[in-house]
Amino acid sequence: MTRLFILLLSREVKGYLFNTNKSWFALGFFLLCILIFPLSLGGSEDLLKKISISSIWICALFANLISLESLFKEDYKNGTLLQYHINRIPFFIIVFTKFICHWLFTGFPIIILSPLFLIFLSGSYENILGLFYSLLIGTPLFSLIGMPISALTLGSAARGPILVFLTIPFFLPIIIFGVLSVNSFSSGSFSEYYLLCAILSIGIIFLPYITIKILKESLE
């Protein structure tokens, strides 16, 4: 089992690393989105400082959303998923490797770079740690919630727009708690962090399970 897990994980990572579009797309999109905020505010420093945290969160959301489209697409299209199913490779391994890789290449770089962008958007220094922690819990949740919806829309013609439309309502609680948690971090209350952790711990059990179910249905 672990052998299979490592095998699939390494293949997945390889796929991301050697396919440069796939690996840098999310981060590049994040950078471009970040660029929009200062430009669209007309150079108002105060406003920028106020919305720095939420803009980083919004950009993280969109970067995640955009890269969700390619999550299962290729394996579904060329029939690899079908072969996995026929050869009785447990789907939870596939789903978890996909999840880990997706987070590693979309969420993780954003988390690492977030302090830099906070300063870049003239946010205050005391929020750095709060933002770091909240993104650390929030971005895996984005990937987790996106997974079943990405699996749902497999095989539809206009996949991208539908995906965006369906996913954003489900991302809302995460972004609400995420932004609030940063604001309350400096005042020493962690209730939103606990809430996010609770959602994460429930989600990491149920959402992959639902994803497996949906993927199996989608093979027909």
């Binding site: 919806i149 749902l152 539908i162 609400i176 809430l195 949906i214 249905e217």
Partner: protein, 243 residues
């Protein structure tokens, strides 16, 4: 329980039962809404604070109730479909989506129109309003899925699973929006305590709610009939081709 469902899961048998119910509920919907409107617009007294604008409540509140009920109905029938795999439940769930959209939309628009004279603005980023807006978008998403994967067994599961995920997510969304609202909104304009609802006001409220409920059943059954008959039409053509 399951045997009981089996009996009516057969679409043709269901139709036999449904057509009389459809007729009765159609007539009932017409009359209850008519009487409800007379009560709401003429007979019920104006509120001592909100004056005549309180009359908007009689369309706003019932349609909000009905839209929540519709989502609950979609959720439950999708769950039944996923457990027992009876296509009838899926048809029921699918056909109630447009009705839900209309209920939610009318609740939103009448709410906005109620807000202007009482609070002074059409829209407030209040928890209840925001979560209702999100409900509206989830309904739209369901409709989108329903239309893009029309008539394929894959789309059926897609729809059922999406309504399942949405059903689990709605309380979380509501909770998060509540949290967000209580923490970071300055004291909202909406006065708490609400309207003291007297018996004379309850009558049109419940009449309208009942009327909309009958209307929901009527439209749902008509749509189900359309769906089943359409399928039988296609199957009929297929059998012609094969012979």
């Amino acid at each position: 329980m399951i045997k009981y469902f089996h009996k009516f899961a057969n679409p043709v048998r269901f139709l036999k039962l449904a057509i009389p119910i459809k007729k009765i509920s159609g007539i009932a919907a017409f009359f209850t809404i008519f009487i409800g409107l007379i009560f709401a617009l003429l007979l019920s007294p104006p509120d001592y604070q909100q004056k005549e604008t309180v009359r908007i409540m009689y369309i706003h509140v019932p349609s909000a109730w009905m839209s929540l009920m519709t989502y609950g109905f979609i959720f439950l029938s999708s769950v039944f479909f996923l457990i027992w795999r009876f296509p009838l439940f899926l048809i029921l769930a699918k056909e109630s989506v447009p009705i839900g959209i209309i209920f939610t939309f009318s609740a939103l628009i009448s709410g906005a129109l109620w807000g202007k004279p009482t609070w002074g603005t059409y829209w407030v980023w209040d928890a209840r309003l925001t979560s209702f807006l999100i409900l509206f978008f989830i309904f739209l998403g369901l409709k989108l899925i329903k239309d893009t994967f029309s008539n394929s067994s894959k789309g059926n599961y897609t729809f059922a699973y999406l309504s399942l995920v949405g059903g689990f997510n709605l309380p979380i969304i509501k909770f998060s929006v509540d949290w967000w609202n209580t923490l970071h909104q300055p004291a909202s304009i909406i006065r708490t305590g609400g309207i003291s609802v007297s018996n004379e006001m309850l009558a049109p409220l419940f009449l309208m709610a009942l009327g909309l409920f009958f209307l929901f059943i009527y439209i749902l059954l008509v749509s189900v009939e359309i769906n089943i008959k359409e399928k039988s039409l296609i199957n009929f053509r297929d059998s012609l081709k094969n012979n």
